[in-house]
């Protein structure tokens, strides 16, 4: 490689893509269960003890953090480009990117704290 300058774009794109895959696989069923099926009484929600045990499992904790982190990076990437191109704010490209990825990183940190407090 002759390039000296390292760009963040390839890494942001990889996170965006990974986030796209995991959210495509996992988000619909979660929203269906906790957003529709349990609230409308189609299915019985797990008891407090059951879901507590489930979420305390190390793999489940990891899954929550990965889903939140990658999902947020995915959304940040898309929203960054949509806001910038859709409203023609090319001049503020850096600020928009910083706001999007910054928020994603912050909320991911919140997710880590919440999961570790279980």
């Amino acid at each position: 490689m002759s390039r000296d300058r390292t760009s963040a774009e390839p890494f942001l794109w990889l996170l965006f893509s990974a986030g796209g895959v995991v959210t495509a696989l996992a988000v619909p069923v979660f929203l269906f269960l906790f957003g529709i099926a349990f609230p409308l009484g189609w299915l019985d929600p797990p008891s407090s003890a059951e879901i507590y045990t489930l979420l305390r499992n190390p793999l489940a904790r990891l899954a929550v953090i990965v889903l939140c982190g990658l999902g947020l990076m995915h959304a940040a990437h898309r929203l960054r480009h949509t806001v910038r191109d859709g409203l023609q704010l090319q001049r503020h490209g850096t600020a928009i990117a910083a706001a999007c990825y910054g928020t994603a990183a912050f909320v991911t940190a919140v997710a880590v704290v919440l999961v570790s407090m279980l």
Partner: protein, 246 residues
């Protein structure tokens, strides 16, 4: 003979500051494309109309125009498909207009050259009397991208290029991939310098309009995403591996 109205974009910089539209009534013939109608206008009605064309058979790539809002080769867009009209004919979008339907294409030409769309290869070990053979499957890897005729319809369709002309754009990346994927080529790293730039593949948001606009089925959108994956792999390698391993 039935007629159809062409509403043609006119821009004559020596006399007018702003473009206007001019209407021409042309015969509505089954076998006439928009280009035939423009040739009729030029020969029979108004010799001052300017536009580019050459082969009339969808291979030279010079007659690209915006027909009723869509980027099209005017030689392959038939009047009857747009009857009863009027048919609005404008220059390709996203390019500066020199005159009438003639656009300025220097920017595209520079980008095309920047990706070095030819086989790059150290030939010192090649036997000059032997062909470089390729299996059908190796040819399939790039054949689709080699169909590009540089007509620039994809640049006209691409909103990212319209918003930021520094973006290297669909056809240039597809042609870079055409050579990157060729088993005889060794130039991927050289092209990667241009492709992996922030104004290279990373500008693309995968709208996919380039692929829909392409008259030759090249699929530049797919080519760009594949180039992103290669560029991302190289970036990760460059980040993780020490310099001497690379």
């Amino acid at each position: 003979m039935k007629e159809i109205t062409l509403r043609v974009f006119r821009y004559r910089p020596e006399t007018e500051a702003e473009p206007t539209f001019q209407e021409y009534a042309v015969p509505l013939r089954d076998d006439w494309a928009v280009l035939d109608a423009l040739n009729y206008v030029k020969e029979e009605i108004d010799p001052t109309l300017s536009y580019r064309w050459s082969c009339r058979m969808g291979i030279c790539g010079s007659c690209g125009m915006t027909v009723n809002g869509d980027p099209k080769l005017s030689c392959g867009t038939f009047l009857v498909d747009h009857a009863p009209g009027p048919i609005t004919v404008e220059p390709l979008r996203n390019f500066p207009v020199i005159r009438d339907l003639v656009i300025e294409m220097t920017d595209f030409m520079q980008k095309l050259g920047a990706v070095q769309p030819w086989i790059i290869r150290d030939e010192s070990d090649d036997d000059p009397h032997t062909e470089l053979l390729q299996t059908p499957s190796e040819m399939d890897d790039y054949k689709r991208y080699s169909m590009c005729i540089n007509c620039m319809l994809c640049y006209s369709a691409c909103p990212v290029y319209g918003l930021d002309s520094k973006f290297i754009g669909p056809a240039a990346i597809a042609l870079a991939q055409r050579y990157n994927l060729d088993s005889r080529d060794e130039g991927q790293e050289e092209r990667l310098d241009v492709l992996s730039d922030d104004e290279g593949v990373w500008g693309c948001t995968f709208v996919g309009e380039c692929t829909r606009a392409c008259p030759k089925g090249v699929d530049p959108a797919g080519a760009i995403q594949r180039a992103k994956l290669i560029a991302a792999n190289e970036a990760v390698k460059a980040f993780l591996l020490p310099r001497w391993v690379r």
